[in-house]
């Protein structure tokens, strides 16, 4: 187990190092960094020369990379061009808001997707199964930004029961979570539903029924437990998906998370913040993947034995 953990940690560290190298060279490949920083309409050659000097962009690229990599290891990505503050600080102070949104989104997804899949599995081939399948497909096919605007129109403007946007109260959390999760709910319901349907046809289910177990016990204790492996994989992937999906939702709902700040960094050509965002999101995603792997090992002894 320890050896497995160490291997996964080493692999995660390798991914992060690769990410840093890719982010640095990609950002340099897409163009002259100074071009990204100055306003074409108002800048002069003097401005450009001064920024080249100040940012060290006139040095050899390998020298720039060593500086960047050394700083990244210490969590120092330089100062935000746009906010004139350390880029790491700009990103880290937004992480709790995104973590809250993603965690709440995952909880909401589980709350809807698991019961829906169980009901569809129980009534396989009958109308509840068809209805849930249809809803899951529709849910997986609609975009978050569409949901966001529709939800604002209905619940904030028409009914006036929830705020359109903002942050700081549990009421502010509801619409972003509901807008963020339809895709994940749809996809998890679809896969879990198929998995439960397959499990329902296995011999152990007939045996359990023959033993006189209640249908609820058969579903929750046996079928769901055996479908849990695919569930863990799915929820892990969807949590990472939710982290990526927050960019649009945070922007629409003015949710002060890492997605919003990353989008601002792109729009404002703020390279240090963009690189810091890539780095910290990369670290979080790598850690999440590690947690999913560990959960997998815990749930399935066969993986551990291998």
């Amino acid at each position: 187990m320890t050896a497995y953990l160490l291997r996964r940690l080493a692999s995660g560290a390798g991914v992060i190092v690769g990410l840093i190298i890719f982010a640095f060279f990609a950002s340099h490949y897409i163009g002259d960094p100074v071009n990204l920083l100055v306003d074409r309409e108002f800048s002069t050659d003097e401005d450009r020369a001064r920024l080249m000097e100040a940012g060290g962009f006139n040095r050899p690229v390998q020298e720039q990379f060593m500086d960047f990599a050394g700083g990244a290891i210490r969590g120092d990505f330089g100062n935000s061009i746009w906010q004139n503050r350390p880029a790491s600080r700009v990103v880290i102070e937004r992480l709790p808001a995104t973590a809250l949104l993603a965690a709440a989104g995952l909880a909401f997804t589980a709350l809807l997707a698991v019961p829906a899949a169980l009901i569809a599995g129980k009534y396989a081939g009958r109308w509840p199964d068809s209805l849930i399948s249809g809803l899951a497909t529709a849910s997986a096919s609609t975009a978050s930004f569409w949901w966001a605007l529709v939800l604002i129109m209905i619940f904030a403007v028409r009914l006036g029961v929830l705020p359109t946007s903002g942050y700081g109260s549990w009421r502010n959390l509801i619409l972003p979570v509901v807008a963020l999760t339809p895709g994940a709910i749809g996809r998890i319901t679809q896969v879990l539903q198929t998995s439960i349907r397959t499990e329902m046809r296995r011999a152990y289910v007939s045996t359990a029924r023959a033993k006189g177990l209640a249908e609820r016990t058969v579903l929750l204790r046996h079928v769901l437990r055996n479908s849990a492996l695919i569930g863990v994989t799915l929820f892990g992937a969807e949590l990472i998906g939710l982290l990526n999906g927050v960019v649009l939702v945070e922007s629409i709902f003015a949710w002060p998370g890492i997605g919003q700040v990353a989008l601002q960094a792109v729009q404002k050509r703020d390279l240090p913040v963009l690189l810091a965002s890539v780095f910290y999101v990369g670290v979080v995603v790598t850690l999440l993947n590690l947690l999913v792997d560990l959960a997998y090992v815990t749930l399935d002894p066969r993986v551990r034995l291998k």
Binding site: R40, E41, D47, A99, T164, P256
Partner: protein
């Protein structure tokens, strides 16, 4: 083996569940901290009549104690030189003040009426081409108690002119480049001495480049101290700023103008999506939604135009084999129905133009003559030619619609236009490439020339060293000369240049001057000039 795993499963789950719960609880605690929760709750109550202590000071009855503004962005910092554009200025220009203020009015002929009104300076004289003498307003104090005087003005001007300080990335940094020195004549009089006789730039500096900064604080702590702790002379001072959430300002009781804005407290919330900004007013969460665009304005009961405008058009590559032909350039101008575009896309918030900016230039935009355009295309042998149209600047929300209209209009006269939308940074990089590498058609929206300054804008758009693709050295000399003359001579020269550019060379397609549209609540009474930023003294409540 199996048994041992089963035995260990429950404790692990508990550990995982406990860790997850702790993480979630920590996130909730961190994200919904006491300060922000309080702020949001108080914000939600602003739509109801409040009679708190703030309101009791002077806010009329039945009006909210806090005026909530849904802004398009959160400023990067609160220094006077924050490069955040109009949305940033909406916040900072309530805190800082310029030497002069202007009330820009647009008349329907597309010209600009500009009147200087005293702010931190009461008057200015221009005794010789290199010298500007300003009489400063007495009895003005900064929010931190420092006095506004000649020395404060000198230090403020030097900060503006110093590219290494706050203005380094600012759009107004160019204003300080022509400043040779500032002389403190006496406590209430200063003189700007310039390197070159450039009246336009100095006029600009008076009204947008120069802001008063407290001399002691600026000298001791540097201009960076204003990034998060702004101190100016304006009618509002910073109360608190929760990054990513809100900025709250409160009225400065020591302001020199006691007849200024009436709101005791103002809260800015950043809502980047125009649709969401509009909804905040409809839902009663905000009282003023900034720059919601013409489309969103259709769903809002109260809207007002003003507080910033841009000239929208198409940059033609004058070095391209097809768009280098003046007949094609004229055809492109004849192909567009500017009045229809202004009416249908901008819903009346835009004016058709023949020249950029709002200047004392009398020019009629090209009329909509598609048949004439077709003849010119045939005469140039350009029928069926494929031309690439690049856009993606995103300065105005209607860009996609405009691109579609342009394509349809140009296809209708016999060209074959392909649209290519780029990310803003790619778009900007392409626009900065040498002439031959530029696309034949390039959408451009510009604020150049809108602030009363025109020679620099002309040099940028039509100069051999500018960002455009038209180059005629004789025009360059004329642009330089224009910057040095004033009054009737300037207007006549400008008219002559504009006519020759428009009628003979036709290097561009100018389409419309696009003004900003804002939504507001029933009790708000805005009367906005066309200035680049909104001052709250132009918004009354009641």
């Amino acid at each position: 083996m199996t048994a041992s795993i089963r035995d260990s499963r429950l404790p692990r789950r508990r550990v995982l569940a406990g860790a997850g719960g702790t993480l979630l609880a920590a996130s909730v605690a961190a994200a919904c901290g006491s300060d922000s929760t309080t702020s949001t709750r108080s914000a939600q109550s602003t739509t109801a009549p409040v009679s708190g202590t703030v309101a009791a000071a002077s806010t009329p009855a039945n009006l909210p104690a806090e005026f909530v503004v849904a802004n398009e962005i959160e400023p990067s910092d609160l220094s006077p030189y924050a490069g955040a554009g109009y949305g940033g200025w909406l916040v900072t220009m309530q805190i800082y003040e310029t030497l002069m203020e202007t009330r820009l009015g647009l008349n329907r002929a597309g010209t600009l009426d500009m009147t200087f009104t005293p702010h931190l300076a009461l008057s200015f004289e221009h005794p010789d081409p290199l010298r500007w003498v300003l009489k400063l307003r007495p009895n003005v104090t900064f929010h931190n108690g420092e006095a506004w005087n000649g020395e404060a003005a000198r230090i403020s001007a030097e900060i503006m002119a110093d590219a290494k300080q706050a203005a380094s990335l600012s759009k107004v940094s160019y204003l300080g480049r022509n400043l040779e020195r500032v002389e403190v004549v006496d406590a209430s009089t200063i003189a700007f001495v310039t390197k070159n006789p450039d009246e336009e730039t100095l006029r600009q500096a008076l009204r947008i480049g120069f802001v008063g900064l407290p001399p002691k604080l600026s000298t001791e702590k540097g201009v960076q101290t204003f990034f998060e702790n702004p101190v100016g002379t304006g009618p509002y001072k910073l109360k608190d700023w929760t990054r990513g959430q809100q900025i709250r300002l409160e009225k400065y009781s020591g302001h020199w103008n006691q007849n200024g804005p009436t709101m005791q407290s103002v809260r800015f919330i950043a809502r980047p999506q125009a649709a969401v900004r509009a909804q905040t007013v409809k839902a009663g969460e905000a009282h003023f939604a900034y720059n919601i665009g013409a489309e969103q304005a259709q769903g809002i009961k109260n809207t007002v135009i003003g507080g910033g405008f841009q000239s929208s058009g198409i940059r033609l590559n004058n070095a391209h084999p097809v768009t280098g032909d003046v007949r094609v350039r004229k055809a492109l101008n004849y192909a567009l129905d500017r009045a229809a575009i202004a009416k249908s896309i901008f819903r009346g918030s835009a004016l058709p133009i023949a020249f950029f900016g709002f200047q004392p230039v009398k020019l009629e935009p090209f009329a909509y003559k598609p048949d004439e355009a077709k003849k010119l295309i045939d005469a140039a042998g350009a029928r069926g030619t494929q031309l690439e149209f690049v856009y993606g600047e995103t300065r105005i929300p209607e860009e996609d619609q405009l691109a579609e209209v342009y394509k349809a209009s140009f296809d209708a006269i016999g060209l074959r236009v392909t649209l290519r939308k780029l990310e803003p940074k790619q778009y900007n990089e392409l626009g900065g490439k040498p002439f031959p590498e530029q696309p034949p058609l390039y959408m451009e929206t510009t604020s150049s020339g809108n602030f009363g300054e025109i020679a620099g804008g002309l040099a940028d758009k039509y100069g051999c060293k500018g960002t455009g693709t038209f180059c005629n050295p004789s025009f360059d000399a004329e642009f330089a000369h224009l910057a040095t003359i004033t009054g009737d001579a300037r207007n006549a020269k400008l008219q002559s240049i504009a006519e020759r550019l428009h009628n003979d060379e036709t290097p561009r397609v100018w389409v419309a001057a696009v003004q900003q549209v804002h939504g507001f609540a029933d009790f708000v009474k805005p009367n906005l000039p066309a200035n680049a930023w909104i001052l709250f003294e132009d918004i009354k409540l009641g």
